[in-house]
Symmetry: C2
Subunit: 278 residues, 2 copies
Amino acid sequence: MTQILDGKKVAADLRESIKAFIQKKQISPHLVVFLTHSNPASSIYVKNKLTACAEVGMRTTLIEQPASSEAELTKLLASYATNKDVDGILIQLPLHQNIDTKYVLQQIPPEKDVDGLHPINLGKLVQADPSGFIPCTPLGICTLLDAYKIPIRGKHVVIIGRSITVGKPLALLLSQKGKDATVTLAHTATEHLEELCSSADIIVAAAGTPNLITPPMVKKTTTIIDVGINRVEGKIVGDVDPSVYQLCAAISPVPGGVGPMTIASLLQNTLKGYLAYH
Amino acid sequence: MTQILDGKKVAADLRESIKAFIQKKQISPHLVVFLTHSNPASSIYVKNKLTACAEVGMRTTLIEQPASSEAELTKLLASYATNKDVDGILIQLPLHQNIDTKYVLQQIPPEKDVDGLHPINLGKLVQADPSGFIPCTPLGICTLLDAYKIPIRGKHVVIIGRSITVGKPLALLLSQKGKDATVTLAHTATEHLEELCSSADIIVAAAGTPNLITPPMVKKTTTIIDVGINRVEGKIVGDVDPSVYQLCAAISPVPGGVGPMTIASLLQNTLKGYLAYH
């Protein structure tokens, strides 16, 4: 029987513990979200994030205003960047195609950068400096693996996809001392992907390619984390071929796996931002 | 016949081209080196760095003064950090055991951080933002592989050792789009290291363990980069067992491989620091 790594349940538990903490301490961290480039998926993500914040007792402000240049976005950002009542700032990606995303991410004060994408936070992740913010999806994946006590020390984790939101920070996080996984970062140019995956103890599929993970890549002992979000014939599917589900030891499914964990990790980061400066 | 990746020669060519550029432009970049914790190896490294700078026409200042607290070192650093005539600042590691190295590295202005260890430069490496400084040893290894046209795109590179000076930044660098290697970061906790290495196209040994790389880990097609610097019976040896030399396709030896490349890369970074702000 394949074990389902139930992100929905683990995320609900995490949200519950954050809610209890916030109530006990009688605090109300404040997250500001910028939605500057209209896109149906982004709107849904933002709505889910705001709802989750409200449910645990956090305050939110949504700045929904189109921006098509760095100057416009930086101007929108300015007053929130310096406002001491703002604990976290999140700029929903992707941005308008004319905007240099790296430049904009650098305009968020690192101590409010709850998405963990400012270079100083990514650099702290390289240094294993716990004072930084860890990007939400990698953080959520680690929490999920922890919750199910999946061993990672010394194990071979193959991550497919080298984005700065998932693949690269997850590779850094799992390689850290104390976690001690052996991590391979694979991507579109990787040769012999099938062979590589079949040697893995854990496969993290974050390529955004439906049916990328197929039966020959998987053993009975493999744990799979599906991070894909692909729209196929109006349905959301991950990167893992459905026939793989019954062949592996454990799987975090799409939907109901990493998605809810990412949002719960955002709450965790916002609370961390609040606590670091209060 | 095993090909020797002659770091001494490639580094000499690189230094020559930097020297020619500096002469042509009639400039003289200025590097300041802090040696605050006495240690025979550190003294030799610093001397080699200063000599290399002088030979290409760069100016150097050596601040050789013991510091056993963050406050002392930060104070030493202060006037050089703000001095516009200083293009690069390097704090020789390791520091005194009482000092938090991460804290001190953050006090170097990122635009003078020629060792590339400030979190903002490490973070830019995660983002593949070319405006940052890349740590000297990883940069030198890439230049050496390039010089010998060793293919890396799609190839499997196994790096052993997860330091912030070598293993982690090299993994990030080789994984970038355009370089496109498939990188595995291995370390002391890695299980089945022999099997993992035997599947590699390129092995980078940066563990600081003599004789770590043994014949069963190597194929006739393997390229090996030895980054180890170990003192054994008064001699400097790398991480690769000597019996491996004749079994692989190519090897960067110790000494005469990565060491000179690291120093040449420091010159490259110092010149980059100068050019970015003049």
